[in-house]
Amino acid sequence: MIGLTIRHQLGEWLRLAAPTLVSLLLLLISIAPWRPFDAPLGGSLVAASIFYWTIYQPEAMAPWVAALIGLASDILGLSPIGLSMLIALIVCGSAQFWRQQLADASFFVVWLSFAATSLATFFIAWALAAMVLEQWPDPWPIAIQSIVNVALYPVLTLLFGRLQRALWNE
């Protein structure tokens, strides 16, 4: 009986922690010294994870969790601190705002919404970076990050979906 309770508790904990752990793992993979697309990935993969989990498991991806993941990305990478935190919040916020519609929408609609969010965050990030760095940075590397992010979303969704089915039996 006690064993079952502990197991249940562990399962609950794992379900709550899995989206955060997956996001942090993606962050570490993003900063590995490789450039498959001839441009740094930065913490771009993390945005897809935040977007997905906010829609499908919102209790495991609260805004403060998204903010902390963004902050971790800022500290581990070299982007102006607070910038990824802000972007993570925007991604989480837009996913939460459209959650009712997106949770039952087709994959293509979700993907399109993610692309629109990525486009918005690209402009916001570029403007904020210009403000912090006091000069206009080359937009192309940031644009590549967003494009890679959107392009990899289907693959990541596949992996997230499998994890979701395994943990939540959905």
Binding site: A32, P33, G42, A67, L78, S79, I81, D138, Q145
Partner: protein, 325 residues
């Protein structure tokens, strides 16, 4: 009882209020962090290097399979061009043997001339090789994390190099890891010299793969293919370190492609030329601490030999780059 229920009511209404306004509060917090990061860069760099130090081994573990995959792909690619590579290497080897002979003659001549002039010897050059464990670049900045820190002898401000050119400079040093700002970073400014025309200028990073040259003389005659080397102005790096090649001259801008492939760094060498440099205020503090930690003569003549860094052993003196001026 009534007091207790009112306390619970207040807590739950606070919770509801926080949930409702969490986005606004967190957004304000993010802007606050942005401002703090802009105001207190020293604290920020300490925090960053502390975190990198703590998670360095974990990053190394995660990046290991990625590195293996990259190496395998590279091995497969090189297997197919093996014959061509052998021919190229044979030609290069012949040319290098000629250069080696010339370098030996010049070194002997140089030593005898120095002896004649009674010149003080240049500071000894030491370096530490370390694997790159993370590409901390993003759309906003360009940098890498290397697995060698204070305990290996890495010092802030040292030049980071690969075989064929300068990579950047050591920005922050932790106990086990160090952060290197690449030449392409938007904050990087490097005093350089156009080798052919001897024009001095500053190479400025712009977060693209091609940093541009600022402050060139108006009458400078720059051509595509011109080699760019460090000028030594500022005393951070010695003159003559290979930096890159001019690849584009358009709209009054001169773009340079670094010799080092900054997108595929596997190992880098942190080189200590024994120069104090004028990089930043906190570097001055670090340098002052070092000066007090060891005798001045030792600091100038023979920098402390670092501990063997990591998987890469310290190279023999014969393999050192010919940078002593």
């Amino acid at each position: 009882m009534r007091q207790r229920s009112s306390a619970i009511g207040a807590t739950s209404s606070l919770k509801v209020w926080f949930q409702r306004f969490s986005f606004v509060l967190l957004t304000i917090a993010a802007f606050g962090v942005l401002l703090i990061g802009k105001a207190d860069t020293v604290m920020l760099s300490r925090l960053r290097i502390w975190v990198a130090d703590s998670v360095g081994p974990l990053i190394h573990v995660v990046s290991a399979p990625v590195e293996t995959a990259r190496d395998t792909a590279s091995d497969v690619q090189s297997y197919f061009s093996l014959k061509q590579q052998v021919e190229t290497l044979t030609r290069e080897n012949q040319a290098l043997q000629d250069y080696e002979q010339q370098a030996r003659n010049l070194k002997a001549e140089n030593e005898s001339l120095r002896a004649l002039l009674k010149m003080t010897p240049s500071p000894r050059v030491t370096f530490i090789s370390a694997p790159v464990i993370a590409d901390a670049s993003s759309g906003f900045v360009r940098g890498v994390i290397a697995l060698a820190g204070k305990e290996n002898g890495v010092v802030k401000g040292q030049a980071a190099m690969v075989g064929n050119g300068l990579v950047g400079r050591v920005q922050d040093v932790g106990e086990r890891v160090s952060r290197v700002m690449l030449l392409t970073d938007i904050n990087s400014r490097l005093p350089i010299l156009i080798e052919r025309t001897r024009d001095q200028a500053v190479l400025a990073g712009n977060n693209s793969d091609f940093p541009d040259i600022n402050y060139l003389p108006r009458d400078a005659d720059i051509k595509i293919g011109d080699h760019v080397v460090t000028s030594g102005v500022g005393g951070a790096f010695p003159p003559g370190l290979p930096v890159g090649e001019v690849v584009d001259v358009s709209d009054g801008k001169v773009y340079v492609q670094p010799f080092a492939d900054l997108g595929r760094l596997e190992f880098i060498r942190m080189v200590d030329y024994g120069l104090p440099g004028v990089l930043s205020e906190d570097l001055g503090v670090d340098a002052a601490k070092q000066q007090t930690a060891r005798p001045p003569s030792a600091a100038v003549q023979a920098p402390m030999p670092p501990k063997p860094a990591t998987t890469q052993p310290k190279l023999k003196p014969a393999e050192r780059p010919a940078v002593e001026q």
